[in-house]
């Protein structure tokens, strides 16, 4: 305990000294996130300094091993770091699919050479990664993917198309699920491969969404040659050949926990419907919202949201106690994303016609409306709500197959 208290004191002092004042202001939204990568343009000197200082300590990825660019912190220490950052409202120095997805996959399934080669540039924010999973004909049925990867001796030859590749147009590398064995049962012919986006034959095209924004792309692979080794001893394939589905499943579980957690508002930090309604709809002389039906709906949602947050807390504590989360991540994904959609519907109800403005300063270019539309993807991406319910029914409740 004494060690942890010492760590807290040192961390607090270091953060006070090193976190630039501009990095202690709440993020306005996704536009303030530092994503890093070769083509990254820092929005401010403060953002650059903050990333460099945190990366030098390994604190962009606090729990990764030091030899791979991480901070080597224990779970308890990482929690303290998080608390101390929250205390001074410090922004996250770096976010990326490398940190969220590829890193955990490499740590679990990668060879030492792959970790040593790919992880440090992720930790320093030098290489930005994107994810190539879904295909136009492989959505919920992801394992039916067809993107073809053939063994051509000294290299792999990749042909096919991926869709919903987030930020592919701004990324340097992509981790892709490809079919390496067309004869095997569908789950057993898939491999997890790493491809440089600058390779000849890779093209991307942004997809415009109902929110008017384009965070997702289509990515095409036309006769893309991928070296068997990206550097001596650094295989392009992560894990065993044809066992990429194991890696994919591991990452999907991880992703579900993450999307579910985002849905609670714990990460977004968005205003609550109750606050928005009190401001925009007004309260009566007893302090109650002037619209009693909206008030009831908001209060019921607040109860569900709060109980959901507690459930996340409990599952994390259970996981720490060695019970693991397993298929319960599907519960977080399902409930968290459905809840987030409901929360934004209530925000839109509370905002009324103000919330419908799409352009102009007053609405910050339709910030609420665009966020509301963005939430509609929550229950589709990373496995639809219906897929999550299937998983709960089969894996947890052990109900029979149809």
């Amino acid at each position: 305990m004494a060690d942890l208290e010492k760590f807290r004191a040192e961390t607090r002092a270091w953060l006070e000294e090193n976190c630039p004042p501009d990095m202690r202001k709440p993020m306005r939204g996704e536009e303030d996130i530092c994503w890093g990568g070769k083509r990254w343009k820092f929005q401010s000197e403060a953002q650059k300094i903050w990333l460099e200082r945190m990366a030098a300590r390994g604190w962009t990825v606090p729990t990764w091993p030091k030899e791979y660019g991480g901070g080597g912190l224990s779970k308890e220490e990482a929690k303290i770091l998080k608390e101390e950052m929250r205390r001074i409202k410090a922004r996250s120095p770096l976010e990326s699919f490398g940190i969220w997805m590829l890193g955990p996959a490499l740590l679990e399934y990668g060879a030492h050479e792959q970790k040593a080669h790919f992880l440090p540039p992720i930790a320093r924010g030098e290489i930005r990664w994107c994810q190539g999973y879904s295909e136009p004909n492989a959505g919920s049925d992801l394992a039916s993917l067809q993107c073809r990867c053939e063994d051509r001796g000294d290299h792999w030859l990749v042909n096919g198309q991926k869709i919903w590749t987030s930020y592919a147009d701004e990324s340097d590398w992509i981790f892709v699920l490809v079919r390496t064995d067309r004869e095997a049962p569908k789950h057993l012919g898939i491999s997890f491969i790493l491809i440089d986006m600058e390779s000849p034959g890779v093209t991307t095209r942004p997809i415009r969404l109902i929110s008017g924004k384009s965070p997702f792309c289509e990515t095409f692979f036309d006769d893309v040659k991928v070296p068997k080794e990206h550097a001596p001893g650094v295989s392009a394939v992560v894990g065993e050949l044809n066992r990429g589905w194991d890696v994919a499943k591991y990452l999907l579980t991880h992703e579900r926990e993450m999307i579910g957690a985002g849905g609670s508002g714990a990460i977004g930090g968005a205003a609550s419907p109750g606050e928005v309604a009190a401001r925009l709809v007004g309260v009566d002389e007893t302090g109650r919202l002037a619209d009693p039906i909206l008030r009831g709906r908001i209060a019921e949602a607040e109860i569900d949201g709060w109980a959901f947050l507690l459930t996340m807390e409990r599952l994390k504590d259970e996981a720490k106690a060695g019970k693991g989360m397993g298929a319960k991540s599907s519960m977080l994904k399902y409930y968290g994303t459905e809840f987030n959609k409901r929360r934004y519907e209530l925000m839109m109800d509370a905002a009324g016609s103000d919330g419908l403005e799409w352009e102009g300063e007053r609405s910050e270019d339709g910030k609420l409306a665009r966020s509301w539309l963005r939430t509609k993807a929550n229950s589709i991406e990373g496995g639809t709500s219906e897929v999550q319910l299937n998983i709960i029914a089969k894996r947890i409740l052990e109900l029979p197959d149809a």
Partner: protein, 379 residues
């Protein structure tokens, strides 16, 4: 504090489950009902529970209790919820024990807490006066005359009030109904002159009472908490009861769900188990998530009661609201998914629906607590 049961609490749960499944299964409740038992629970069984430390779950060891705390009491309530066990656990071991332990004078604590722990004293909380829970609207008058008070008015939905030896009565000593100030809690002998009790057999085959007070005498010595300032004590006691009921409902709902999932696997129609149909799978999976939320909320409320009792109000409302709504959904889905057999008295599932209905109404239904949370959150 991690939001999980401690090892000790897990052991308590396992022991309780074994004991209740053997000694107080659902068939025991059925037997009490069919025999029109006048007490409504087994006094012998209650004595056995007391010997295991359950009756004194909140009572300090110095008074003969086991002092497992609210989280421990929640474990027991949840297990009794699973088996629909009839006992004065809520009325006596949670509500009365909380009132005495937290708010009573030393003399009362010494007199009553050991008897509660020993299972020799049944007590009941008399708070509601109308069909919906609204403690601030307490109207039962306690008129001061000299050194004494005279209580006049009516109480309803007093759980175990028909057999209680002592009643804790919320009365108005000042102010007007609707005001939180001016309420006082009195400890009244159930046999006192002017007390008239009518046993009300409820839909869940458990018992409550309507109690009339006709100039019942009490003195300043009978007050629990402060005169005119009893609201704080009443809220504290109610919060404990709400968290206990949330745990109980969580247990009942969980058990009803297990029975339902079991039935989905075993019942065959159209040549396959009905659990293979996605229409039912998705509803069951959704309900599973809701049950997990209810359990988290109940555990959190009980832990906060142990750690910072005075700050537990919002958490107890959260737990009561969520567990009430989820248990109701669970009981409805249970009957629907059981189909025709679920409508029969012979099947146990209906007993779960009945008990859940009563528990979710007691001390505030989900709407009452949603309103309370909204007020606490400033809208």
């Amino acid at each position: 504090m991690p939001l999980v049961l401690t090892e000790e609490q897990e052991m308590l749960r396992d022991a309780a489950r074994g004991f209740l499944e053997a000694k107080a299964p659902v068939s025991a409740l059925r037997k009490l009902r069919d025999a029109r038992d006048e007490v409504g629970f087994s006094r012998d069984l209650w004595k056995e529970m007391a010997e295991m430390g359950w009756a004194g779950v909140l009572v300090e060891e110095a008074f003969g209790g086991s002092d497992f705390g609210f989280a421990g009491a929640g474990v027991l309530a949840e297990e009794m919820g699973r088996t629909l066990t009839a006992s004065p656990f809520l009325s006596t071991s949670i509500l009365a024990a909380t009132a005495l332990k937290k708010y009573a004078c030393e003399a009362h604590r010494q007199e009553y807490l050991p008897k509660i722990a020993a299972g020799d004293l049944v007590m009941a909380l008399a708070v509601d006066e109308k069909n919906k829970h609204a403690p601030a609207k307490t109207a039962l008058r306690a008129e001061k005359s000299g050194n004494a008070f005279r209580l006049s008015g009516e109480k309803t939905f007093v759980a175990d009030g028909h057999v209680a030896d002592k009643l804790i009565v919320a009365a108005r000593t000042a102010g007007a109904p609707g005001e939180e100030a001016g309420i006082t809690l009195f400890l009244v002998d159930a046999q006192a002159k002017g007390v008239a009790r009518e046993r009300t057999i409820m839909v869940d085959s458990r018992n409550a009472a309507r109690v009339r007070f006709d100039g019942v005498e009490a003195t300043g010595d009978d007050v629990v908490g402060e005169i005119d300032g009893g609201w704080r004590a009443l809220e504290g006691v109610l919060n404990a009861g709400r968290a206990g009921l949330a745990a109980e409902m969580s247990g009942s709902a969980q058990r009803a769900f297990e029975m339902t999932v079991g039935y989905l696997k075993e019942r065959t129609q159209f040549g396959r188990p009905i659990g293979a149909f996605q229409a039912l799978q998705h509803r069951a999976a959704h309900l599973y998530c809701e049950l997990e939320l209810a359990r988290s909320a109940a555990l959190k409320a009980l832990q906060v009661l142990d750690e910072s009792f005075e700050a537990a109000g919002a958490f107890c409302s959260l737990a009561k609201a969520k567990a009430g709504a989820v248990a109701r959904l669970a009981s409805q889905e249970a009957i629907q998914m059981h189909g025709g057999i679920g409508m029969t008295d012979e099947h146990d599932i209906g007993l779960y629906m009945k008990r859940i209905r009563v528990a979710q109404e007691m001390f505030g239904d989900p709407a009452f607590h949603a309103d309370r949370i909204a007020r606490l959150r400033g809208y």
